[in-house]
């Protein structure tokens, strides 16, 4: 079957069958290698000019972006980052100053988290293609996994959603005077992941969009969610873009990827303690875990099913 018919998630399932990994963490944000009392976390993520890098991104933004999306996977598992590697596929007519700027952007992101770029590879490619690898470490008893949530756990996010989606829609519809910062400058929630590792029963980053992420958690945990649309923290930029496009602002938060906030479940009795640890950035409850295998959202007093129309590679947005 052609990949365009199969879709990314079905493909990943096929690959999983081939590699035959009977491993407790398969399907998580990072691969985990047990070393003594710790897990070494490793994750790799490829971006390419045409589909992942909006033209408004400068070379430095690209470097930051690749570093950030990889570090976000370390954050989602409660890890401390250790280093970054970059595999660069570069057009031969690219200027070396552009490559240096890409790496300066990556370095800036690495430094923000107290780590270094420790290695990589350069190759010729007809299209700028960068595969980042992030390495981290987390003690075995503090690791955050996608599985483990329980009925009645509180569902929460680490900050406003819809920042990236609003930027994407602004570019697509030519809406001016909209901040693109959320789209091109994601901030991995490393400190937040570390704090959550004491409280959370499950965690992942929202890179694929809230709805898509919730459906992935539902499948892995065999539990559903009930969300309250009014509680979803919508970024100002999403509210503004939603007004211009005459759509419900919360759908920008649920249907578009790229926000890189953490999506987390916390037992109700621990939630207040967890929240106290969040001062600079918030920890915002948006719903709860339910026994039924479905995801509903209450909006304007009306309860309806949340549709899964987040972005999936090899397939168009639904």
């Amino acid at each position: 079957m052609r990949l365009s018919d199969l879709g990314e998630r079905a493909l990943i399932e096929e690959i999983r069958k081939v590699i035959d990994r009977k491993h407790e963490f398969i399907g998580d944000d990072c691969a985990c290698l047990p070393i003594g009392e710790d897990y070494i976390l490793i994750t790799t993520d490829m971006v390419r000019r045409k589909t992942h890098i909006p033209k408004v991104m400068k070379a430095r933004d690209i470097g930051w972006f690749v570093a950030a999306v990889n570090l976000s996977d370390i954050a989602a598992m409660g890890g401390n980052p250790l280093g970054l590697l970059f595999s660069l596929g570069l057009p031969e007519d690219m200027d070396s100053s552009t490559v240096k700027e890409i790496m300066q952007g990556a370095k800036k992101c690495a430094e923000r988290y107290g780590i270094h770029i420790i290695g990589g590879d350069t190759k010729e490619h007809n299209e700028l293609t960068i595969s980042g690898t992030a390495v981290g470490i987390v003690s075995k008893d503090e690791i955050l996994l996608r599985t483990g949530m329980r009925e009645s756990d509180i569902l929460a996010v680490t900050d406003c959603l819809g920042k990236a989606g609003a930027g994407y829609l602004a570019l697509r519809h030519g809406i001016e005077n909209v901040s693109l910062d959320g789209l091109i400058h994601p901030v991995p929630r490393i400190e937040e992941g570390r704090k959550l590792s004491k409280y959370a029963t499950s965690c992942m980053d929202i890179s694929d969009g809230l709805a898509s992420s919730l459906y992935q958690l539902m499948t892995m945990n065999n539990l559903g969610f009930e969300l309250n649309a009014e509680k979803i923290p919508i970024s100002e930029v999403a509210v503004s873009v939603a007004e211009r496009l005459d759509i419900d602002a919360y759908t920008i938060a649920t249907d578009y990827g790229g926000d890189y906030e953490l999506l987390v479940t916390i037992p109700p009795e621990k939630f207040e303690d967890a929240k106290k640890e969040f001062s600079k950035t918030p920890l915002i409850p948006i719903g709860r875990v339910v026994k039924e295998n479905r995801i509903t959202i209450i909006s304007n007093g009306e309860k309806k099913e949340l549709k899964n129309i987040g972005y999936e590679h090899f397939r168009d947005v639904g």
Copy 2:
């Protein structure tokens, strides 16, 4: 400056200045992260359909190849491999069976070394592009580095050279009945690297070709080499292709990359002990380390400079 004018090695120097890594191991085959008594080794290598994958390679060969070239970097540092990750950039019109075959090939290589494919990423790409990441571990006192060689050390390789170069030339010149196994099926020298970690003063893999590798070692160590052309173990396939093309067989071994044998320096007093550990595969002395900062090769009693015409990305083969 355009990358095609700058060349790969000058580009890497520029990148190094940007990332400002004052780290003892920068420039080695893997990045090293100290964890307790060990180093975690991490390396990443990107291949793409057009420039790295000869058309004769089947999907399974491609998977093996990407796994092998990454594991070879672990071997070159004396490491034990722990796992492999694959970032797959896949054309949307590719059949999912092709992706499965790629992963089956990768799995076969991983299993050969007792490890698993532990993670990865899939993305759409207009050209098949795979970035592999290998992770390994080595105790701090057993790590093999590119630096450390001393004058009079014996220079040795782990097996015959020219296998990949002969395959490349056979394809380029349409020479039939030549085994392409050395080109498409490299065998990382993991066990050999582990053995050498007790004896070697420096080590790297010969992925870029013997001459190119020696020039890299010369620059890093500020010492030169004297080689004996008659001692360089030339594979049968290289001898056969050299005859057909009427060229010196040893130039196939020196000027073409892709062999993935280990190139190693060993103090003369330790060489016999090291050699005794090699039974299934050989350890073949081909020259020695000299004080002068140049590389000479003695062929037919004549001493001449060994030219550095190994493959460099972004530049044509000289």
